[in-house]
């Protein structure tokens, strides 16, 4: 089973990297773009010893305690068999 974890800055936190990318895209002439937020992506491979419910709990724990800093970031994840 694989877990895909997406970490992003909270909406209330300024994202200077996203803003810079947005500026570059604007200079490129990209149209229809309202905002860019930069985040992180983690791909976890689970060893198969956990059922889906257990895996969800474990991945949530990993994301909450290690992969994100709750002061500035939030996460979501998906599991794939």
């Amino acid at each position: 089973m694989k877990a895909y974890v997406y970490v992003s800055l909270k909406k209330s936190v300024l994202d200077p990297q996203g803003k810079t990318i947005q500026g570059a895209l604007k200079k490129m002439g990209v149209k229809g773009l309202a905002d860019v937020r930069q985040g992180k992506f983690f791909e976890l491979t689970l060893d198969g010893g956990l059922n889906r419910g257990e895996a969800e709990a474990e991945v949530a724990r990993i994301a909450r305690d290690v992969l994100t800093n709750p002061v500035i970031e939030e996460f979501r994840f998906s599991l794939e068999e």
């Binding site: 209330s12 936190v13 200077p16 990297q17 810079t20 290690v66 800093n69 002061v71 500035i72």
Partner: protein
């Protein structure tokens, strides 16, 4: 009365802090390795600057899981004096010893230059040799020094006078231009509720001898030595 300077893989201001304490403050000091729980009966702990664990994941994020930080947390909970400088400040925030987080500089650049910080509170073990309103010139050198916390934490920091240093002009005005990294309210340093843990982005150990261009940073070490002697 002994100082301990932590060493993580990637710390690079550990020797500067050690030198300042041993050669300038003339105090006993020892290095403390990140893999050991033993704080060797030190009376004050310095969490030095650098790039612990290569800044992987987030600055300070991996260091918080090291054995030595477990001991530092207990030491701080018991009122022990802990000074986190630059990456040390980032580690203390990640570890939950100080509130908030240090995020990417607003200009997205590594900023390395002397800055002016105004002393906001001298009723701490780290600033008792200063006066409120003193402007200290101390260098910064960081990519992630943009202090952020939520509104309720900021209100608490203000209410309890736990904002210790703010980026200022040479004459002590708090302006946007004087803010090198976009920090909330120009915050350059904060302390814990018990005032025994301080985190600051500027490097006082780089401004502790006139040969290095200034001695304003030494006031922090001088304050600490005084506080330790009075304990």
């Amino acid at each position: 009365m002994k100082f301990g300077v932590l060493i993580f893989p990637g710390s690079n201001c550990d020797h500067d802090a050690f030198w300042t304490i041993q050669q300038v403050a003339k105090q006993p000091v020892t290095f403390l390795w990140h893999e050991s729980h033993d704080l060797q009966n030190c009376d004050a702990i310095i969490v030095p600057g650098g790039f612990s664990y290569g800044d992987y994941l987030r600055t300070g994020a991996i260091a918080k899981f090291s054995p030595v930080m477990e001991s530092v947390r207990k030491f701080a909970d018991g009122g022990g004096l802990v000074l986190g400088i630059c990456n040390g400040f980032q580690i203390l925030c990640e570890s939950g010893l100080l509130p908030g987080a240090l995020t990417r500089n607003v200009g997205l650049k590594y900023v390395c230059k002397p800055v002016h910080v105004r002393v906001e509170n001298n009723d701490t073990p780290f600033t008792n040799a200063c006066r409120v309103g003193d402007v200290l010139t101390i260098p910064i050198g960081h990519m992630d020094g943009n202090y952020f916390c939520d509104d309720s934490t900021l209100a608490e920091l203000k209410r309890d006078q736990r904002i210790i240093f703010r980026y200022a002009t040479p004459s002590g005005e708090i302006t946007e231009d004087a803010n090198p990294n976009g920090s909330l309210e120009n915050i350059a340093g904060i302390c814990s509720p018990g005032r025994n843990v301080l985190g600051m982005m500027p490097h006082p150990e780089r401004a502790s001898e006139s040969e290095l261009g200034g001695t304003d940073g030494f006031r922090i070490f001088e304050s600490l030595v005084g506080a330790m002697a009075a304990r």
